[in-house]
C-alpha cells in the first residue's frame, strides 16, 4: 500500500519544498502547494476500495530499536482510516484552492503554504498511523501547525484581534492558548500511552487489539479506567471538549481558511478519530474482559460529549462575531460525535455508535467547511467580524447566501440534508443507551442549534443593511459577490450536503456496512445497560426527537429573527433573569475567566513570589550569608586566634627565652670550679633517673 505512505508523505514533502519553490516564483509556490494537497487527496481516493471491501492492510518497518519492545513506523489502512483520510484530504484540497484567492494579497505566504501543507500531512499521518507513538507525531504536528496558523498575523494588528472589549485577544496570544491548552490534554494522553506501553511492550494498534493481556493486567490492578480516562484527555484537548474547550473560540484569530481547516477537516477531528480507535480496540477486548472494564470510560465520553454539545450551543446563541458562532457550533457538534462514541459503549453496540459518530463527522466536515469558507467571503467583503455590522447581504452575495443557508440548515439537522441523517443517527444510538437524561440533553441541544443557526443567517443576510456597511459604501466600497475560485469550493460543499442528504439513508447504510467490519467481535454481546427499545423503537424515537427539536428551536428563531415580530434585544433588556442568563452565556459560563485566573495569573504570581522569597530571599540569602559569615570568621580568627593567641604565644615564648637567657647569664660565672660542680650534680641526677627507670631502685 504505497498510496497510504505517499498520502501523508506528499503534503509533508510539499511543505518542505515550499520555501524552495518560493525562490523560483510565487505562482509556482502557490499552485505547487495546492497541487500537493490534490495529489494527497488522489492517493487517499485510491485507498477507497479498502473501505468498501472492509479489509485491513497493515505494513510497518523498524524505527526505534528499544530492546524487548521495539517501535515501528507503519500504516494501518482500514475503513476508519480510509474514510478519515478522504475527508481530510479532499476538504483540505478545497480549502487550499479557496486560499489561492482568499490569501493572495497577504504577505508571509511561504509560511502560510508551508504550515497548511504540513498541517494536512500531519493529520493524514495521524489517521494512517499503525501505532500510538507515530500517531502522536502527527497529533503534535497538527498542534504546532495550528499554533503557527492561528497566530499567522503575528504582528497583532488591532484588526486581527478576536473577541469584544474587554475580552479581546491578539492572534499570537490565541495561537499560544491553543497550543498550551491542547498540550495539557496531550500530557495526560502521553502518560496513558506510556503506561500501556510498559504493560504491553507495544504502541501498535493492531497488537493492542489482538493481545488482551495488557488490558486484563491493568484491569486487575485497577488501573484500566484511570489510564483510559487519562488517554481521553488528549482527545478532549484536541477536539475542544469540556473542560479543555476554551481555546477554540479564539482559534478563529487566524485567516478564515485556517479556521475552516481546523474546524472542518483536521485538528478537532483528530480527537474523535482517536476515541473511535479506542472504541474499536475496546470492542475487540470486550469478549475477553467484558463491558464492565470500559463502562466508566464510555460513560465519561458520552457525558463529556453531551454536556459540551449543550454548553457550546448555549454560548453560540449570544455570540456577536460570525466566526464565533461557527466556532461554538463546532465544539457543540464535536460533542455529538463524542456522545455517539460513548453511547456506542453504553448501548453495547459499538458498530452503530461508531457509524453514527463517523457519519456525523463526515457530514459536519462538509457543512462546516462550507460555512467557514462562506463566512470568510462575507468577512472579506464587509471588513468586519461582527454580525451586527453586516446585514442585507442576501441581495449582494446570493451564491454565498444560498450556500450558507443550506449548510446552516444541514448543521441544524433539517431534512433532507445530510446533517439531518447524521444527527438522527447520533440521537438513535443515544436513545439506545437507555439514558433518558442524555437523550433529552442532546435533543435540547439540537433545538438550540436550529435557533442560533437561524439567528446567524438572519442577522448576516436578511437584516437591514447596517450602519457600518452604509458608511463603507459612502467611502466607495460596493458590496459584491466574491470571485468563483472562492465560491466554487463552498457552494460545491453545500450542494454535496444536499445531494448526499437526499441519499442520506443509503450513505448511512454504506458507512455502517464498511465500519462494522472493524467491530465484528462485539456483535450479539450482552449489554450492561438493558436498552428499553422494547417500549419504543429507537428509530422512531430519534426521528420524533429530531423533528420536535426543529420545531422547538425553529419557531422562536423564525419568529424573532426571520419574521422579526419582536426585538430580541429589548426582550433581554426587559427581563432581569434573561439579562443574567445572557451575561452568564456571554462570559462563557465564566469558565474562561476562571482558567485565566488559575492557569495564567496564578502561576505567574507564584513564579514572582518564588523569585522574590525563595530564590533571592532564601537561596541567594544563604549564599551571601555564608560568605559574609566566612569573612567575619576570618577577621575574627585573625584578631583573636592569630594575633592574640598564636602571635601572643610566639612573643611570649620569645620573651620567656630572652628572660631565661638573662637569668642563666647569672650562672655563667666563668669559674671552672663552679662549672665542674654543676656538671657533676647534673651527671649524678641523670644517673639517679636512669637507675630509677631501669628498676634498680
Amino acid at each position: 500500500m504505497i498510496e497510504a505512505w505517499l498520502c501523508w508523505l506528499t503534503p509533508i514533502s510539499g511543505a518542505l519544498l515550499t520555501p524552495i519553490l518560493a525562490k523560483i516564483d510565487h505562482k509556482v509556490r502557490d499552485y505547487g502547494a495546492v497541487a500537493f494537497s490534490l495529489i494527497a487527496a488522489i492517493f487517499a481516493s485510491r485507498l477507497l476500495p479498502v473501505a468498501i471491501e472492509g479489509i485491513t492492510i497493515w505494513e510497518r518497518y523498524s524505527w526505534m530499536p528499544i530492546p524487548g519492545a521495539p517501535i515501528f513506523v507503519g500504516v494501518l489502512v482500514d475503513p476508519l482510516s480510509v474514510i478519515m483520510a478522504n475527508v481530510v484530504s479532499w476538504i483540505s484540497f478545497l480549502i487550499m484552492l479557496y486560499s489561492l484567492e482568499y490569501m493572495h494579497s497577504e504577505s508571509g505566504l511561504t509560511r502560510y503554504w508551508f504550515l497548511m501543507n504540513l498541517f494536512i500531512g500531519n493529520m493524514l499521518l495521524l489517521v494512517l498511523s499503525d501505532n500510538l507513538l507515530q500517531m502522536f507525531f502527527g497529533w503534535e504536528g497538527v498542534g504546532l501547525c495550528s499554533y503557527g496558523l492561528i497566530g499567522f498575523w503575528y504582528r497583532d494588528e488591532k484588526k486581527y484581534w478576536v473577541g469584544t472589549y474587554p475580552d479581546e485577544y491578539p492572534p499570537s496570544h490565541a495561537g499560544m492558548k491553543a497550543f498550551i491548552t491542547t498540550r495539557m490534554g496531550d500530557v495526560g494522553m502521553l502518560i496513558a500511552m506510556l503506561a500501556i506501553y510498559s504493560y504491553s511492550g507495544t504502541f501498535s494498534i493492531p497488537e493492542l487489539q489482538s493481545n488482551p493481556v495488557w488490558a486484563s493486567t491493568l484491569l486487575e490492578s485497577g488501573l484500566l479506567t484511570p489510564i483510559l480516562l487519562l488517554m481521553l484527555l488528549g482527545p478532549i484537548g484536541k477536539s475542544a471538549q469540556f473542560p479543555l474547550h476554551e481555546w477554540l473560540p479564539e482559534a478563529m484569530a487566524g485567516p478564515t481558511s485556517v479556521s475552516a481547516l481546523i474546524h472542518a477537516a483536521t485538528m478537532v477531528k483528530a480527537g474523535v478519530y482517536l476515541i473511535a480507535r479506542m472504541a474499536i480496540i475496546a470492542a475487540s477486548l470486550i469478549p475477553v474482559i467484558g463491558f464492565e472494564g470500559f463502562h466508566t470510560f464510555f460513560l465519561a465520553v458520552a457525558w463529556i460529549g453531551g454536556f459540551t454539545a449543550f454548553l457550546a450551543a448555549t454560548q453560540a446563541v449570544v455570540a456577536r462575531e460570525l466566526k464565533k458562532v461557527l466556532a461554538y457550533s463546532t465544539i457543540s457538534q464535536i460533542g455529538y460525535m463524542m456522545l455517539a462514541l460513548g453511547a456506542a459503549g453504553l448501548a453495547a453496540d459499538i458498530a452503530e455508535g461508531l457509524t453514527a459518530s463517523i457519519f456525523h463527522l463526515v457530514s459536519h466536515a462538509v457543512f462546516k467547511a462550507s460555512l467557514f469558507l462562506a463566512s470568510g467571503a462575507v468577512l472579506h467583503v464587509c471588513e468586519t467580524k461582527y454580525m451586527d455590522e453586516m446585514g442585507g447581504l442576501k441581495r449582494y452575495m446570493p451564491v454565498t447566501f444560498i450556500s450558507m443557508l443550506i449548510a446552516a440548515l444541514s448543521l441544524s439537522g433539517v431534512p433532507p440534508l445530510l446533517g439531518f441523517w447524521s444527527k438522527e443517527a447520533v440521537l438513535k444510538v443515544c436513545f439506545k443507551t437507555g439514558d433518558l437524561a442524555l437523550f433529552l440533553l442532546s435533543a435540547v441541544t439540537a433545538a438550540i442549534t436550529f435557533f442560533y443557526s437561524l439567528r446567524m443567517i438572519s442577522i448576516t443576510f436578511l437584516y437591514p443593511k447596517s450602519k457600518h456597511l452604509e458608511e463603507l459604501e459612502v467611502e466607495g466600497l460596493h458590496l459584491h459577490e466574491v470571485s468563483p475560485i472562492m465560491w466554487i469550493p463552498y457552494s460545491l460543499l453545500a450542494v454535496s450536503t444536499l445531494i448526499l442528504g437526499v441519499l442520506g439513508w443509503f450513505v448511512e447504510e454504506a458507512f455502517h456496512e464498511s465500519l462494522s467490519h472493524l467491530v465484528t467481535a462485539t456483535h450479539h454481546l450482552e449489554a450492561v445497560v438493558e436498552p428499553h427499545g422494547a417500549v419504543i423503537d429507537p428509530s422512531i424515537a430519534s426521528m420524533l426527537a429530531s423533528i420536535s427539536a426543529l420545531i422547538v428551536g425553529g419557531l422562536p428563531g423564525y419568529w424573532l429573527y426571520v419574521a422579526r415580530r419582536a426585538d430580541p434585544r429589548l426582550i433581554v433588556e426587559g427581563s432581569p433573569i434573561l439579562k443574567a442568563i445572557w451575561g452568564f452565556l456571554w462570559n462563557r459560563w465564566y469558565i474562561n475567566k476562571l482558567y485565566y485566573l488559575l492557569f495564567v495569573n496564578l502561576p505567574i504570581a507564584l513564579a514572582r513570589i518564588t523569585n522574590r522569597w525563595i530564590e533571592v530571599g532564601f537561596f541567594n540569602g544563604i549564599q551571601y550569608g555564608l560568605s559574609w559569615l566566612t569573612l567575619r570568621l576570618a577577621t575574627f580568627t585573625n584578631r583573636l586566634v592569630e594575633v592574640s593567641f598564636f602571635n601572643g604565644i610566639q612573643y611570649g615564648v620569645a620573651e620567656l627565652t630572652a628572660r631565661l637567657c638573662r637569668a642563666s647569664r647569672l650562672l655563667q660565672t666563668g669559674s671552672l670550679n663552679i662549672n665542674m660542680y654543676q656538671v657533676s650534680i647534673i651527671l649524678a641526677l641523670i644517673l639517679v633517673i636512669l637507675l630509677i627507670f631501669m628498676g634498680v631502685w
Binding site: 507525531f137 504582528r155 499570537s172 510498559s198 518564588t610
Partner: protein, 495 residues
Amino acid sequence: MSLPILIQTVLTPIVLAPIVYLAGRKLSHHVGWLSFAILLHSTAMMLMVAGSEYLEVYSWVPRMGWDIGFKLDGLSLPFALNVAVLSTVIAVYSIPYMEHRIGDKPEEYGSYYALYLLYAAGMLGAVLATDLVEFYIFYELMLIPSYLLIARWGYGERERIAFMYFLWTHIGALALLASIVAVYWVTGATSIEAVKTILQNTRIPFQLEVGIATAMLLGFLVKMAVLGLHVWLPHAHAEAPTPISALLSPAMIGIGGYGVIRIALGFFPQFFKVYSLPIAIWAFLTMVYGGLMALSQDDVKRLLAYSSISQMGYLLFGISSVNMLGISGSILHYLSHGLGKGILFMVAGILIMQTELRSISRMGGLASKMPLTAVSALIGFLTLIGLPTTSGFISEWMIFGGVIRSSLASGSMEKLLVAVLGLLATMFTAGYGLWTVRRVFFGPTPTHLEEVKEGSMLALAPIIALAILTFIVGVFPAPILDRLTQTIMLSSNLG
C-alpha cells in the same frame, strides 16, 4: 593496542592551545577559524571510531596503576558527540560574537580561543575518561578555563560571579574527590571498569556505600545545579560571554549527569534503587522550581539559565527510574537539551548583538526583522518542550516511560504520582517557552527596534546546523538509540 585516535580528539586542542594564543596576536579574530579547524579535527577523529565501541589505554603512573584511557561506547557517544559538535559550531559562532564583545583589541582573541580550546578539551576528556583520577583531572580542567572566560569577558559583576562559580563547583569537585579516594581505599583500583567489577563481586557495608555514593552524587549534582545546589548557575550562565553560556549550559552541566550514570550508578546501583523515590522527588522539585523561576525572568539569558536547571531535573528524573528506558532517555535528553539550549543561547547572543538588549520586556515584534532567528528560537523551545520530530520528544517519552515503568514494576503509587506530576510540570516549559517567543518576536515592533537587522550568516549558520541535528535525531533516533540501549543493558544489568 588501538590506533591513537581518541587521544587526538582530547589532546590536540590542549597541545595547540598555546599556538592559538600566539597566533591570535597576528590573526586577531580570524584565529577563531583556527580553533574551529582544531575542534573539527577532534570531532572528525571521534566520528571515525564512532561506529562501534572503541577503547585506547595509555600507561601513565605504573606504580600507582593509573592509566590514561579513552573510551567511546554507547554511553559516552551521545555526550562526546554533543560536546564535540557544540564546541565546534560555537567556535564559529564566537567569531562574530567575540568581535562584538572584545572589539578592537586584537591581543585578546588569542587568549579567548586558547582558553576556549582548553575548556572544550576538558569536557571531551571527562566524558571519554576511563580512569577515576583521569576523570577528575579533566573534570577540574573544565572549571579553570571557564572561570577565566567568565571573569575576563563576562558581563555585570563578572569577576565576583566567576569566583562564585569557581567556589561552588570546586566544592562539588572536592566532594567527588573525597568519594574517589574512598573508592580507591575500598577497592584499591582507579580504573572505572575495574572498580565496577570489584564492587559487583565484593559486598561492602551498605552504610559505607550510602556514604560514598552520597558524596559522589553531591559532587555531580552541584555541576548539574539541582535545586538547592543551583545558586551559582543563573549568575554564571547569564553573565558569561554568550558563546560560553552556550557551552556551560548545554554541554558542561550535563556532564554531571554523565558522572552520575557512568560512575555513581555504575558503582552503586543498589543505592539508587533504594533511594529512587527521594531522588525522583528532588528531580521533580528541580523541574518545577526551574520552570517557575524561568516564568518570572525578564533577562533572556537568565531565563534560559533557569530553564537549564529545570531541564537538569528531567535528566535526574530519568536516572531515578534506574531502568534501561529511563536512563537511556536521560542520556538522550542531555543531547537534545544540548541542541535546544545551544540554539537558544546563540539566539540570545544574536539578540544581544543586533539589539544590545537582554530585557524581554523591551523587545517585541522581532519576527519580521529577523525571521531566521525567530524560527530558530521556536525550534529551540520546541526541542525543550519535547515536540515530536525534535530530539526532545524522543528523550522525554523515554524518561517518563522509564519512570512510569519503574513505578508500575515496583507497585509504588507514590512514584507513579511523581511521574504524573512530572509530566504535568512539562507544561511550565511550554508556558515559558512560547511566552518568551511571543514577547520577543510577535506583536507590534517598538520604535527603538525599527532599525534592527537579521543576525549575520556566521552567527546563524551554527544555529541552523544544530536545528537540523535536532530534527535528524528526532526522526531517526535509531543509530544513537541502538548502541545506547545496548550499552546500558550490558553495563548495569538493568531491565
